[in-house]
């Protein structure tokens, strides 16, 4: 190589000194980034990927964090021992950072213009006028309309996607050499994620900016990264070019990670490969290979720490595993056993357990517009939706946030009183009165396993409560036995009944949530984003659990989620929603295989597939703009304002759902145009 790397990190080590001990959050990490290169750091939460990024920028709190390294060379200069002021001159000027939470990363009391011109004035010593015109230029570049007006506005007047665009503009303001993006799209919808990532990649390619992208989303990595570092428990376990990592993974952890994500491009069937257990506590990490306790290939040799070794000369593919050749050869099979293969159960479609006809959930809203005057309107959160759920069936409900999918679940449970339509449960009409009688049979699992369990109750108390309330088990002994059974059924241990929720991990808490839903022996469970707060390896465990329970107990699920791959994997039938209306409904394989509606196609295109070959080869429709205000939806077809195939007729009337074949319905008058 003629040119030295832009960033050269050698043996980086970060320790946090906490009250109850020292945590080594980054352990001897070395990597390089060349100019204009796209490096991705992947791993599950707590593996040290964000800390690595923050320590390069030296943004960690000095009181608790201690950074050591042989060297961290940026453009040839070792920055490990730079003073705070010298480091400040580099930050924002030569390397900048984009953070995960666009909602909280901008100062709420300063205008966008003020925050955007700050680095220009600090580093480039621009005058106010110069910096303002540069700011307008930057906002134009990141695709924010009416930049002059936007400069004087405050962050709360921007949507999440728009704020992330502003963050990118701030990052690019001084034309840095390196941008570190820490989960920049995790908080955003897939369609917005696609817009933001395309924008970032495009601008950086044009300006020759190198990117370090930290993410847990393997699809995103497959779509954009040149090089990948896989981190596990503070160490890099495998690194190399994206084709090698995805094509020939040779660390058991990488293999597990890749195989535990549900794939949109694969046929349904079979359990997901799961990495058992949890990542280690870094306060007291296991000696030797840190993956050993969870590794299916672990042997006695693994008691000593494996070095990162190059697999074959010149390939720049490094793995830290004694059995990397073996792992590479066996691939996914190291995680799969016979019990993981099963046939999909055919759902008997005679009597639906839940039948929804013309469901409507309209909310009246009013807000102030001028002084003393107010505007009122109706938000049609759910507008005329019909579907059936059969026993043992999973119906997936997908769409961007704000499309009304959660409102459907709440209306069915009568947590909000539906404003129209007919609901039937086991052929009996559901209304405000009768819903109390069937509450036992309709249970719910919530998204956030952290806030949906009462922190002052033990797991045992949480599980016993519904048994008491519904007078299912009146004897204390019987209740206690029941709780043990439930805990065992969801893969926990009976002794955990005396623990409090904060003593459990996220995945374990979600198991408790499932056990709580199960204890009523329900016919249907409404799962509202049950896995979106979990890491991929834990997500796979929970999905497998839900599927196992369905096969065993014949429960039906209404599965509400925004992750298209997860929905595809678990659902028999899929409903695609947009602004309160159904766009398309049909069998899972049909919807994903031959989508009819332009919105469904765009959604599928926006979700990246964790396979660089497929992902980079496919043509994509990227949706422009954002979800319109539900207070003022577009006339005619609600999707018309963002549709790439829109015609005059689309704006005239709202299209009906048309049956194409075998219960595959789509609401679009230009289906052929959409092909």
């Amino acid at each position: 190589m003629s040119q030295p790397p832009l960033l050269d990190v050698r043996n980086l080590q970060v320790e946090f000194k906490l009250k109850n001990g020292t945590v080594r959050a980054v352990d001897n990490v070395s990597f390089q980034v060349n100019r204009g290169e796209f490096l991705s750091i992947v791993g599950e939460s707590g593996c040290g990927k964000s800390v690595t990024a923050l320590s390069i920028m030296k943004l960690l709190p000095k009181r608790v964090a201690e950074i050591k390294a042989d060297y961290v060379k940026f453009d040839g200069q070792d920055i490990t021992n730079l003073s705070e002021n010298e480091m400040r001159k580099i930050r924002g000027r030569r390397m900048s950072m984009i953070f995960q939470e666009p909602m909280t990363s901008l100062n709420p009391v300063l205008t966008i213009g003020d925050q955007l011109t700050e680095p220009l004035i600090t580093h480039l010593e621009m005058s106010e006028e110069e910096s303002n015109s540069r700011a307008i230029e930057l906002l134009n570049m990141v695709g924010i309309p009416e930049p002059e007006k936007r400069l004087t506005q405050y962050p709360h007047q921007f949507s999440g996607g728009m704020r992330q665009r502003v963050m990118i503009a701030i990052g690019l303001a001084c034309e840095p050499d390196l941008i570190i993006a820490d989960e920049p799209t995790t908080a955003l919808d897939v369609t917005i994620q696609a817009q933001i990532l395309e924008l970032l990649k495009d601008i950086c390619n044009r300006l020759g900016v190198a990117i370090i992208m930290i993410t847990h989303n393997l699809g995103v990595v497959a779509a954009y990264a040149d090089k990948v570092n896989v981190m596990y428990a503070a160490r890099i376990v495998e690194k190399g070019g994206a084709p090698e990592i995805f094509g020939k993974p040779s660390h058991p952890y990488t293999i597990g990670l890749l195989r535990s994500v549900p794939r949109m491009d694969k046929k349904r069937g079979g359990r997901l490969a799961t990495i058992e257990g949890l990542p280690p506590n870094l306060m007291a990490p296991p000696s030797g290979c840190r993956f050993k306790p969870r590794c299916p290939m672990a042997a006695d040799t693994c008691d000593s720490s494996p070095e990162l070794k190059e697999r074959s000369k010149g390939k720049n593919h490094f793995t830290a595993c004694f059995y990397s050749d073996d792992a590479n050869k066996k691939g996914a099979s190291i995680y799969v056993s016979d019990k993981d293969k099963f046939k999909l159960i055919k759902v008997k479609k005679d009597k639906p357990v839940l039948s929804v006809r013309g469901l409507k959930q309209h909310f009246g809203v009013s807000f102030r517009s001028g002084w003393l005057s107010s505007v009122s309107g109706t938000v049609k959160a759910v507008d005329d939706i019909s579907f059936d759920v059969y026993p043992g069936e999973t119906v997936g409900l997908v769409g961007e946030s704000g499309c009304g999918k959660t409102s459907v679940g709440r209306a069915i449970l009568h947590l909000n009183l539906p404003t129209g339509g007919e609901l039937k449960f086991n052929e009996k009409e559901l209304n405000q009165k009768s819903v109390a009688l069937v509450r036992q049979d309709m249970q719910v699992i919530f998204q956030d396993p952290f806030s949906s369990l009462n922190p002052r109750m033990t797991i045992g108390q949480i599980l016993e409560e519904p048994l008491k309330v519904h007078k299912i088990e009146t004897e204390e002994d019987a209740r206690s036995k029941r709780v043990s059974e439930l805990l065992t059924k969801v893969g926990l241990y009976p002794y955990m009944r005396d623990r409090y929720p904060h003593e459990l991990s996220g995945g374990q808490r979600q198991r408790v949530g499932i056990a709580r839903a199960l204890c009523m022996e329900p016919k249907i469970i409404i799962c509202d984003e049950p896995v979106s707060a979990l890491d991929v390896s834990v997500q796979a465990q929970i999905i497998n659990l839900l599927e196992d329970l369905q096969r065993e107990l014949g429960i039906a699920y209404l599965f509400i989620a925004h992750d298209l791959a997860v929905v595809k994997h678990i659902s028999h039938k899929v409903i695609v929603m947009y602004l309160g209306k159904v766009m398309e409904i049909g069998d899972s394989d049909t919807i994903y295989g031959e989508p009819k509606h332009p919105y469904t196609k765009a959604l599928l295109d926006a979700a990246p597939i964790p396979d660089p070959k497929k992902e980079r080869g496919r043509e994509k429709i990227i949706l422009k703009g954002e979800l319109p205000s539900p207070l003022n939806p577009p006339k005619g077809c609600v999707f018309s304002s963002r549709c790439n195939f829109v015609t005059e007729d689309c704006r005239k009337a709202s299209p009906e759902l048309v049956d194409f074949d075998n219960n595959h319905l789509a609401a679009c008058i230009n289906i052929d145009g959409g092909k």
Partner: protein
């Protein structure tokens, strides 16, 4: 911002009206009769007729709605009736005292802010250092020690160092500002210590909270000078809760400080309050409560407007 300000000011009117009505009726539920207390104080045997005659003279035998009507009619003109005890005009009685309490409140607020801002900021920025611990001990002392006791210590300290007492009592600030300030600074200091401790602790914790926010990290990642990060990005956000505390404490001081006033022999609102309660002087009491409540409402109005000026989210939402 203008629309918000106008709306917020207009809202004051119904609030004050509600206070006025409430005060009138609540006080009349309280048992006790001023006429009996007043006549009893004069000694001798009081006949029922005498009581009745006095009541008629003071207008206390009117039906309650008539009394209410007279009271409400007087309000817009600032007429709060006459004190049932001294038979002086209530408004005049209050006006002659409120100036002193107001001055004391303003002086101690100035002192408190001057002390609290540097203390709170230093304490937050050097968290965990010895300086921080010293400041925290000083401020916890301010909250724990009663103001009047601190006032007494002050008087003794002055006596010990200067050998003579500060001139107790008051001369109006308009007649002789120098002497007035020299008189008022001591009670202001004794109240201001507590006041500044509350504000400093609030400021410390809100600065610490704000400095751990994501947008502070963003500002640092931009390479902005640390000084600007703290003043421009941190302080403005940290001021929001602090402003509330300052305002509420100020409004509280307007209500007078019974014990501190007597320690420094000040003729403020606090003493008037006690007298009116002991004597069951309903007219004076309702005038006082109304005045203090108005002070509270106005201070809250100012806090709200300050909030809107500091935080754009409030300006636009409402």
């Amino acid at each position: 911002m203008l629309a918000y300000t106008i709306r917020r000011i207009l809202l004051v009117i119904p609030t004050l009206l509600a206070v006025a009505v409430l005060v009138f009726f609540v006080l009349r539920v309280v048992p006790g009769d001023i006429v009996e207390i007043k006549l009893a104080a004069e000694g001798g045997i009081i006949s029922a007729e005498e009581i009745q005659k006095e009541k008629e003279r003071l207008g206390l035998d009117d039906p309650i709605m008539v009394q209410f009507y007279k009271y409400m009619i007087g309000l817009p003109r600032g007429d709060l009736g006459i004190s049932l005890w001294t038979e002086n005009n209530v408004s005049e009685e209050i006006m002659s005292r409120i100036g002193l309490s107001f001055e004391l409140a303003i002086l101690s607020t100035i002192l408190a802010v001057l002390i609290a801002f540097p203390l709170g900021t230093i304490s937050a920025l050097y968290r965990g250092s010895i300086l921080d611990y010293v400041i925290r001990i000083i401020t916890i002392g301010g909250i724990a020690v009663p103001s009047f006791w601190f006032g007494m210590l002050l008087i003794m300290l002055i006596l010990a160092t200067f050998g003579n007492l500060p001139p107790l009592g008051t001369i109006s600030i308009f007649d002789d500002p120098k002497t007035n300030l020299y008189q008022m600074i001591w009670p202001a200091l004794s109240v201001g210590y507590r006041y500044s401790s509350v504000v400093a602790r609030m400021l410390r914790s809100s600065i610490l909270e704000v400095l751990s926010e994501d947008y502070i990290r963003t500002a640092r990642a931009k390479g902005v000078f640390e000084r600007i990060v703290i003043v421009k990005h941190g302080m403005r956000n940290a001021l929001l809760p602090t402003v509330t505390v300052i305002g509420l404490e100020f409004a509280f001081l307007l209500g007078g400080l019974v014990v501190t006033e007597s320690v420094f022999n000040l003729n403020g609102i606090g003493k008037l309050f006690v007298d009116s309660v002991v004597r069951n002087d309903l007219n004076l009491l309702q005038g006082l409560v109304l005045t203090v409540a108005t002070g509270f409402v106005l201070v809250n109005l100012i806090i709200d407007l300050l909030y809107a000026a500091l935080d754009p989210r409030i300006r636009y939402q409402k």
